[in-house]
Symmetry: C2
Subunit: 313 residues, 2 copies
């Protein structure tokens, strides 16, 4: 059986590559399955162990995730951990059948966004966590269920989000059996003070259950917010290679936290990542080849590693 | 007489626009004097009060700073504060005669960089601080003397820089009469842990004398390092509009901390800047028109301000 403590060990920071899912949400064309497998293999070789590889949705709606099962298999073959989104019960069943290591359910922090984006209430979203847990328990592989709270730091529709609302939802997800709680700055509204405060409250609430923080760089704050989350006790951070993935609510804006820059941040903060940064940066070549129209971001890829100093943890 | 406590009040964060100096250090073509004045005026209207406007060097060497005196006058006319680099005694004399509010002397943190870049010892650089103070005292306007320690977090030539060396140099500068001490991450090697530690030690050493932190975004750490510097008691931070200014040691890399993003960071951290961010972003138009071949950076300019939430301090 998979344990959250094993996937996200206490006292460590786990970096999750979400480029194969969140990164591909809005791209104009997407990599071939073979290229995605190369992406997985090369990042694995660079030291990455956690991959969000797709979403269980009808392929007619999101053709970029039609190969999610193959990528789950490839991740397992490598000896790494896979996660995938499941946004309804059918998705959770499929995810369990596919042998994914971690199912991610998404709960909107605000009722307005929940209705507009998912056409359901927040309470229904929490119920899916409970149902996913039951499906997991009844499955062979028994994946973890990760409850990710979107718009946790501000909502593109409702505006301000009260931390109490996020904490109440997290409590509901824990009660429903969630193995990990995530909070996402989906639209890049957060600053470090806010991230630190909410992360700390969540860590207090969650106890042994890992708290994951998913940041977007829409307003340039992903790195500083990541540092704040680390200091506040987050167990894992999400990023995508080259910051792949835009923001549907801010056309042209940057997307996910840049994975390479998060590695540099962690190492510079004395937090070992086990990731070879030069090897990681080299994987960008796959994205450049497969998605030439997508703008990749990231300072390390432009500047190179700092010469003549020890910058690793 | 100008007082450092007045220019950099305790308990506040002052943001300095250095685009007109550091930003223009490496550009292919530079704005007309009239465009620079527009830049000053429009940023002043947006709430910016501190401008580094040039360098006192022979115009034959750095033609982009030939109009430094006119910009000092324009800054005074607006009622803002001007600073300018003086890298030798002649420069300091000229700066005093021009009525600048603050002379910036630069001291390399390492002997290797001091010799390679300035062809003088660090001790000679500290002596220039003493000489600048004497020239200031003998002048009408009596500008502040700001001792800026370059390569304070890592050196492109010597590699690692010991904090003790920076503190010893800072002590020498204080003894020589410096009114403010700056430390610069000239090549973007620093991470937040390092910035916090050195800033804290400097603040302890400097007492009432303000500590200024000058960050480059070469490796994407400018914002997180700025947050660390603020938390550690820095009194002022430097940035340039659009992050203008590259890094001579990392071609193609990003340059100064992006001024707009620093404003957002501060406001999001509850630190009021008095700057209208939308008005500030609009000033980028001047740079785009005058220097179309320069790549401007900055997340806020791409994404826009966060809608429907209160993000100001």
């Amino acid at each position: 059986m998979i344990s959250a403590q094993h996937l996200y060990p206490a006292g460590q920071i786990t970096l999750r590559e979400v480029g194969l899912r969140d990164g591909l949400q809005l791209v104009r064309r997407f990599p071939s399955t073979e290229a995605k497998k190369q992406w997985l293999r090369q990042e694995y070789a660079a030291g990455v162990r956690h991959f969000e590889v797709g979403s269980f949705l009808p392929a007619s709606r999101m053709p970029q995730f039609a190969d999610v099962r193959e990528l789950i298999d490839e991740t397992a073959r490598l000896g790494a951990w896979s996660s995938a989104l499941a946004l309804n019960e059918r998705g959770a069943m499929d995810a369990c059948a596919a042998g994914v290591d971690e199912i991610i359910n998404v709960i909107s922090a605000t009722e307005e966004h929940s209705q507009a984006n998912m056409r359901r209430s927040r309470a229904d979203a929490v119920e899916l966590v409970r149902r996913s847990k039951a499906l997991s328990a009844a499955s062979d592989h028994k994946p973890l269920v990760n409850a990710g709270i979107a718009m946790a730091f501000g909502c593109s529709i409702a505006g301000e989000v009260k931390p109490e609302d996020v904490l109440r939802l997290a409590e509901g997800c824990l009660e429903a059996g969630a193995d990990a709680i995530g909070v996402a700055d989906t639209v890049g509204f957060a600053g470090p003070t806010q991230v630190a405060a909410l992360t700390r409250q969540l860590v207090d609430l969650c106890g042994d259950i890992p708290v994951l923080v998913h940041l977007h760089d829409t307003r340039g704050m992903a790195v500083v917010n990541a540092a704040a989350a680390i200091d506040a006790g987050a167990r894992a951070l999400d990023g995508s290679l080259g910051g792949l993935g835009g923001c549907p609510f801010a056309p042209g804006a940057t997307g996910n936290a840049v994975f390479e820059d998060l590695v540099f941040l962690c190492e510079r903060m004395g937090v070992p990542t086990g990731i070879d940064l030069a090897a990681l940066i080299a994987v960008r070549r796959i994205l450049e080849t497969e998605m030439p129209e997508e703008e990749l971001h990231g300072a390390l890829a432009r500047s190179g590693l700092p010469p003549r100093v020890k910058w690793t943890a």
